[in-house]
Symmetry: D2
Subunit: 345 residues, 4 copies
């Protein structure tokens, strides 16, 4: 069987670069096209010099997809921009994995309310499938448009899913206190990601209104028919990669650490990228990989369930998960090309 | 009036070093004696070379306090060791500020249960005053033995006090999710503070059983006659100094951000080191200083109160607060010698 | 005697902020005016929130100097901009310390050749004095315009001065391999100072043509009548503050480590901010202070002299040195207001 | 052909862990045995939890090599310990790649003089081949014992080899100013690698007498029949992985940047891991990979040649190079299993 022909739309950001890192060694996929509107004509390794000798192909404008007989396109674009390409590619004969936030929410009204932005391709919502494979694999396999989850929601949802699925927690009691590395905010230089603003520093941000709040909440509602209320507080860590979410919830019934971990074991079964841990994981345990490591415990004294969940925000939180979705969409093994080992230290 | 004669018992750790940094320029205190059992005979600047030319005095054994007509001794020692010196100094004619955890809890039974260690000077509890000046100034002024608060409890208690005092929250709903720099774990080299274990990394630790949990809970109970249940989760940040606590609680009545901040304003009044902020503070906002910066908000959607509180764990969380206590104990201005400006970046 | 009235022209950068940090507690200086063309009307603490409660004064436009009876103005401005203010203030009745590179070189031709920029106030060079107090104190005391040295040159020149002065090295053999924290590149967000570009990373930059090369070389030539050839290579460290220069030179005569350190001792005498060290210093040994710590040795095997010199680039490399110059210009004690102790760790 | 059976002697350090990371996906090698004297009986993933689900095999004592029909053993042990195993394994029927410093120098006398330690297996020097494939591939192919190069020497020698080989520089003029991440100092917790000692800090160390000095010098002498004098100064960077060497030397003839880069191009030809760069590389350009990126220039003004060379000290500076040597020793493709892509950021 010939390899699948892949286009990466948007090459200058971190997720574009990670897609190339992963797909370069994928045994069943070929990168046929990488595009950048701003850097077309240059080489990919001109934009990301560490790819010299590895990925030196020329960048094209996105319109070049027409000439490349593509099987699947990854959109590694900002939200608001991505929807335009999804619309433009609607009648093309290839699948799409959209890494932006444009089609993750259940409907355009919710999108417009939380993103403060008009949605210009409202028809897209009908065909978009939320691409969290551990929750949604069957739908992903037949999807033409996959909305790749946000980084924070990936870490929160994988930590919460077995608890909500098993009706083990009061869904109105969820607090997700997340801490992310800086790459989550993108490659563009801004005052907030200046080295000396971030280094040796730490802060909370986006209190009460971060867009990933509603993505976590509506996904739990949609997949598990629950009525969750999610308090989500992101924080900015002085490091590059990784999200750790500390999740608190009230039990809905009598629980113990053993019962809880058993629920996780049953729910995730042979999922290749979820590792259940016997103690709290660290960010470096998953760096550069598609793993999500999870630890769950119960505090008898306070009657709180506590979950710790870690991912690499650029891999399981973006490019790796996108390739995992691609594998499912093509009927390949779910972890093909994704067996990287953590780079630690 | 002659300057007060100060002894610093324990010179090799970070708090000993910070005490010297602060007291060197204190206008009403003289460092008469610095002790170290392991490095006696060497100079202070042999142990901390960055003090060359600033603090080159010889280190003595602690027994030398007898010869120095001391007015006050700071104990910058590990818990378990400190209690022995408090006992030994009981009949000496000087005041003590103990920076260890040995006398922070209300009674030896609670201590022994959370510290897994016998307490060998149980009489000490009767005279020990919990040294959080913003809550306890009157008692501190006349104390002979002040138990200087833990770093995490300082950040949590200053964030919670106005809410508990005003009965604005359900005291059984408190979640304190704290993140600390590495100096909080002390100067001794261990696998957990190896640079490559911590750098570019992040983890939760001490879930459910960290000793500062009970310090926060019993202090709230003691000062405000509340019955709190505190869920406390510490995390380790890849940076040197600073604690940020993100605190969640359920309101006990109708509240708004305005009402909440007004409660903070009333409670702290002219407290020289609490700064109420209009948005979330960062760790560097207080680095090297005795400030505690606090922001509080209310999420209408989820009905949660959220507080962000930051301190420098070595200053307001240790040595600075100890000097603030000393100032009160001597009837001096509370912020004397403590007007350092944040070192940022 | 009334305190001196000080203006700080340019408030948004790191050096402006450091000037306020230092001058706030200077016993003989008052900050009468802080200016910013872009943020005039806002408070200083709006720009630098960590100054809340410490420096809340309003920012003005620079033209406000006319109304404030200023004794001395610090120009904390980019090169190219600073020269315009020096010209504009030429007939005003106050002294100037210019922290930019506009008047550090001996003549406008050299400036234009290395800065690739026309110099629009060539008359300024005649009155400008190079403000490195350890080399130039007598001239600084009577200067009306002091050109505050660059950060790298401060570290290199203090490391080299005793060797060049004592004709101990071949001035054509100098290699200065310097490593700087990120604040040296300024507060403006750029791709090169994005956190994820710098963190866990390291690089050399500006090979062969960095402007500080010629500042080092012409200063050595001017002060010591030497004919140096300086190879200067700057590198970017993943940290905020500090420069360490490793300097290599060939001896011009028989030397030993003892003889070399004796030359440093004689040259620096009672200089309050140079600390001669018995082993290599680290950046944190001087963080937040005006110290320059120096270690020098001789390798018998290779016949190379090696010097290690460290400073805080924002203090001895900028704002602290500027205040040291101010003290000299006003006939005050050289270290007044500058006795900060290193913040370590 | 069956896969080669590999033993890794020494599992607890960084190089042991990196060997497992690389060999796990090597298509022609199987890890048959991992040993640790101190942790035998535990699983590899107990020691390195991030390997959970990837490498869970039991650790054995080294004596177990007898039972495993090994083809090649990697010794990931400290110097001084390694020589004992090389001796003990001398009559075993497998090849050895020793990652310690015990057999890198030309003779035991030089070893004893620079390592301050007796060498107890002096016969080993006769059969040891210095394992820098870009210089020594032919000898490595038939070697039974390969001494894997030190991390600093790898970066220095690859930067210098074309210049020394082409007699382009005066070999007595070499200055190697190197900067390394912390993993180079090993996994054992010590005061010098405490997070707060290293973070936001930088220093030179080992001036004049670091053991890698003589490894660089004797290798240049041995391979190129040159008489080099090498000044080598290592520095400690606040980051995990990577060495950048800035190398200065005087030209021995008329040179230009073009001529120099052409010499590099000729010398390295199709070497799979040397990338010649058009501007200075950064550490992250090679993180997690076996690449050595090199840039060379000539300063007409000063008549100095400057070379910048970067590697990942744990990969090309240790485990990756060891596997590269293994590939050569088994007649496999040199880069088999070593095509990792840099993890950036």
């Amino acid at each position: 069987m010939p390899k699948k022909k892949i286009a990466i739309i948007g090459a200058t950001g971190y997720t574009g670069s990670e897609l190339v890192r992963i797909l370069t060694h994928h045994p069943e996929a070929d990168i046929s096209l990488i595009t950048s509107e701003s850097r077309a004509g240059e080489r990919f390794s001109d934009v990301h010099p560490f790819f010299q000798g590895i990925a030196d192909q020329k960048l094209h404008k996105a319109e070049a997809v027409k000439d490349h007989d593509i099987d699947l396109a990854f959109l590694a674009l900002p939200h608001g921009v991505s929807m335009k390409y999804v619309e433009q590619f609607a009648n093309q004969n290839f699948k799409i994995v959209d890494l932006s936030g444009d089609f993750r929410l259940p409907d355009p009204e919710t999108y417009e309310s939380w993103y403060n932005k008009d949605h210009t391709y409202r028809e897209g919502f009908a065909k978009a499938v939320y691409g969290l494979p551990e929750l949604n694999a069957e739908k992903i396999k037949t999807a033409e448009l996959v909305a790749n989850p946000g980084c924070y929601p990936t870490s929160a949802l994988l930590g919460l899913a077995p608890l909500v699925n098993g009706k083990l927690i009061d869904p109105a009691s969820i607090v997700v206190d997340s801490k992310s590395g800086v790459t989550g905010a993108g490659v563009k230089a801004k005052a907030v990601n200046h080295f000396s603003t971030v280094n040796d520093n730490f802060k909370a941000y986006g209190l009460k209104k971060h867009r990933h709040t509603i993505e976590i909440q509506t996904t739990l509602a949609g997949v598990f028919a629950a009525k969750p209320i999610v308090q989500f507080t992101p924080h900015l860590l002085p490091l590059d990669r990784g999200i750790l979410s500390t999740i608190y919830a009230k039990p809905a019934k009598d629980v113990s650490e053993e019962l809880l971990m058993a629920a996780y074991g049953t729910f995730y079964g042979n999922a290749p990228f979820v590792r259940l841990r016997k103690q709290g994981p660290t960010l470096k345990d998953v760096r550069g990989t598609n793993y999500c490591d999870i630890y769950c415990t119960f505090d008898e004294r306070t009657r709180n369930i506590i979950v710790i969940s870690v991912i690499d925000n650029l891999v399981k939180g973006a490019a790796g998960q996108a390739v995992q979705n691609m594998n499912l969409m093509f009927g390949m093994e779910e972890d093909l090309g994704l067996r990287q080992i953590p780079l630690a230290p």
